[in-house]
Symmetry: C2
C-alpha cells in the first residue's frame, strides 16, 4: 500500500479494538487493517507494492515446489508457540520435506468478527518473526472476516513455494527394503503442549511445543548425503501415521525399535495421564528420514550437528512386505503392528 | 495417494455422510476423504503422488507471480456459481491482474464438522471443472476440520502461481495522467446474485453471478497492446473502491463518466430496491484496465472480440490530482467525488 496515515480518520486501536465486518469488506477499513497491522509486521517491498499478487524472482532452470497448509489450532496461543509461528513453520516444513529450499510464503487469514486486534497483532508479529528467522518472506496475502460464531478467532492458510536443487529427488515413494529409518528427536511434544493448555492441565514441568522450521536441518542432511530417499514431518496423526503413509506410498513394510524412539519423560507421563500414545501425537519440529543403510551414519552425524537434530536416532529399517505393515519390536521383546491413526485422537492440533 | 479402496473398511458415504472430526485428524479417514473425494475430482499426477507438496516445472528465466485468496462466500451456492468455482476464478484473476499466465493452484479447505459430504463433493466438482476449463490444475492441498459452530460449512483458501512474460509490467502504480480507463462489462452482477439468494429475494429476472476466469481475456489484451499499465478486478468494494486503490497507488486522480458505466437493468433495479450503489457491489468476472490513451481503441477492440469483454467500454480518464480523487460526471451534468467503500456494505460476498 502506498498511502499514508492521513488517509484514515484515526489509527487502528490496536490495544482495545476488535475485528469488525468492515475489516473484511474490501474498503477503507480493510486497507487500514492491512497497512497498520499486517504490512507493519511483515514489512517488505512485495507487500508494500499493494497489488493482487507478488512478482518474484526464481532461479532459472530450477524445479519448483508448492505446498499449502491450513492452521486451525486451538487454543491459538500454547506453550512454545502460537498459530502465527506454527503457520510459517508448517508450510516451510512441507517444502523442506520435498527437498526444496523455501523461498516465499503467501498467507490467507480468516478472522472472526469481534476478535481482539491486540491478539491478532501478537499472532502476526509471531508469524513475521518466524518468517524473518527462517529467511522466507510473506510476499502476498488476503484477509476475510466472518460473523461472530461462524469462525473461531483466526484461521491461517499459508502457502509456500521453493526450489529443489538439481539431483535432489525426495518423495514418499522412494523408501526401499533395507533402508534405514531416522528420526530427528523426541516425539509428542507439540500435541501434548497444545492439549495441556487446552485442558488447563498443570504438569510439574512445562511441556513446550517443538514448533520449528526444519529447512536448515534438511539442507545440512542433503549436503551430507545424496542417498536420502524420503523426508516427512510427523504432524497430525503422529509418527505412526506418517510411517504408514510412507509404507503405503513406497509399497514396503517397516520394523521399528520401540526402545530407540525418544520421548521426553514429562511427555511420556502426560500421555499416560491423558490416555494417549506418543506415536500418534503431532509434532511440529521433527522429521523422519529414510536413507540407504550405509549412508545412515553420515546423515545422523549431520543431523546431530544441527541444533534441531541433536537427539537424532535410527529407529528402524524398511522391509519387504506385501501387507505394507509398520511393525514394532517392543521394549518387552514382543512385536506388534503399528496401525494408522483411526478416527480422531486430538482435534485441531495444528 | 497410492493406495487402493481395499485399505478402507467401506467407501465414503457420499450421499448421506457428513464431515466428522476424524476427517481432519490426519489418520486413515483423512486419507480416505482426500482419496475418494478430492483426488477423485482433481485427479492429476501431482496430487496422486501424495507428498507434502507438489513438484512443478517452471519456464526458466520467467518472473513468477504468486497470489492467495480466501473464500468465505455465504451462501455457498448462488445463482451462477458456488464457492468452488469462485475460489478458482478469484485466484486465477489475481494472477491475471498482475499480467501473469496462471500455471498452478493450491487449495486449503477448512471444513465444519457435520457438513454434508454431498455438498462438499458438489463444491469440489465445481472447483475441478473450473480448474480444468481454465487449464490451471490444483496440484496440492490441505484439509482441516473444525467443530460444529466454529466454522461455516466450507472455507477455501486458494493460492496460485503463474509466470509473467518478459516485457509485461502491469501494476497498480502504473496509471499516468491522460491514460484511458476501460471496463470489461457490466458491474454489480455477482454481489446482487449472492445477496438475492441470501435474502431469498425473488426478482422477476434471475440475476446470475459473473464469476469467470479472466486470464484468457487478459492474454488477448496484452497481445493487442504493450501499453497497458494497470489491470485490476473490481471484487470486494466494487469498481469505486478498486479505482480509489489504483489512484492511491499511482498518486493520480480519475474522472469517470457515469453514463458510460454499464449496469444490467435488473441489477440496477435490484440495487435500487436494496439500497445499494452498483459502484460498490462486488464483481467476479470483470476487470478494469488503464492504458495509454492512444492504445485504448486497440485494447477495446481486443476486449470486445473476447466473450468475456463483449461489453467493454471506456469509462473515464486518469488525471493529475494531488488529492487522488476519483470523480464522476453524473448523468445529470454534475460532478461528484466517488469515495472508497466505508465500513461494510455486503459481508461475505466472496
Amino acid at each position: 500500500m502506498s498511502g499514508s496515515r492521513k488517509d484514515y480518520v484515526r489509527p487502528l486501536d490496536l490495544r482495545n479494538g476488535r475485528v469488525d465486518m468492515g475489516h473484511g469488506a474490501g474498503g477503507r477499513s480493510s486497507a487500514q487493517l492491512i497497512e497498520e497491522l499486517f504490512l507493519a509486521a511483515f514489512d517488505n517491498d512485495w507487500l508494500r507494492q499493494g497489488d493482487d499478487g507478488a512478482s518474484l524472482a526464481i532461479p532459472s532452470g530450477a524445479r519448483m515446489v508448492m505446498a499449502t497448509d491450513g492452521h486451525v489450532v486451538s487454543p491459538l496461543f500454547f506453550p512454545g508457540g502460537d498459530v502465527g509461528c506454527l503457520s510459517v513453520h508448517g508450510t516451510i516444513n512441507d517444502l523442506a520435506m520435498c527437498g526444496a529450499k523455501p523461498l516465499y510464503l503467501a498467507a490467507s487469514f480468516i478472522l472472526e468478527e469481534g476478535f481482539p486486534l491486540a491478539d491478532l497483532q501478537r499472532i502476526v508479529a509471531s508469524m513475521a518473526a518466524a518468517s524473518r528467522a527462517a529467511g522466507v518472506p510473506v510476499v502476498t496475502g488476503d484477509t476475510k472476516v466472518v460473523e461472530r460464531g461462524k469462525g473461531d478467532g483466526v484461521f491461517i492458510s499459508t502457502t509456500g513455494i521453493g526450489v529443489a536443487p538439481a539431483g535432489v529427488n525426495v518423495a514418499g515413494a522412494n523408501a526401499r527394503p533395507g533402508d534405514a529409518i531416522l528420526l530427528s528427536g523426541t516425539i509428542g511434544d507439540h500435541g501434548v503442549a497444545v492439549l495441556s493448555k487446552r485442558q488447563a492441565l498443570d504438569f510439574e514441568t512445562t511441556i513446550t511445543s517443538d514448533t520449528a522450521a526444519l529447512h536448515g536441518l534438511v539442507a545440512a542432511m542433503l549436503k551430507a548425503s545424496s542417498r536420502i530417499g524420503v523426508l516427512r514431518d510427523p504432524t497430525r496423526g503422529g509418527l505412526a501415521t506418517t510411517l504408514n503413509e510412507i509404507a503405503r506410498q513406497s509399497k514396503v513394510g517397516m520394523v521399528l525399535e520401540e526402545a530407540a524412539i525418544p520421548v521426553l519423560p514429562q511427555v511420556d507421563a502426560a500421555c499416560e495421564l491423558l490416555g494417549l500414545d506418543p506415536l500418534y501425537v503431532a509434532n511440529e519440529g521433527k522429521l523422519v528420514a529414510i536413507c540407504a543403510a550405509d549412508a545412515a551414519d553420515d546423515v545422523l552425524a549431520a543431523m546431530r550437528a544441527h541444533p534441531l537434530g541433536e537427539r537424532a536416532v535410527r529407529i528402524g529399517t524398511v522391509t519387504e512386505d506385501p501387507h505394507r505393515f509398520v511393525q514394532m519390536n517392543t521394549r518387552f521383546g514382543g512385536r506388534r503392528v503399528v496401525d494408522w491413526l483411526s478416527g480422531e485422537q486430538l482435534p485441531r492440533i495444528c
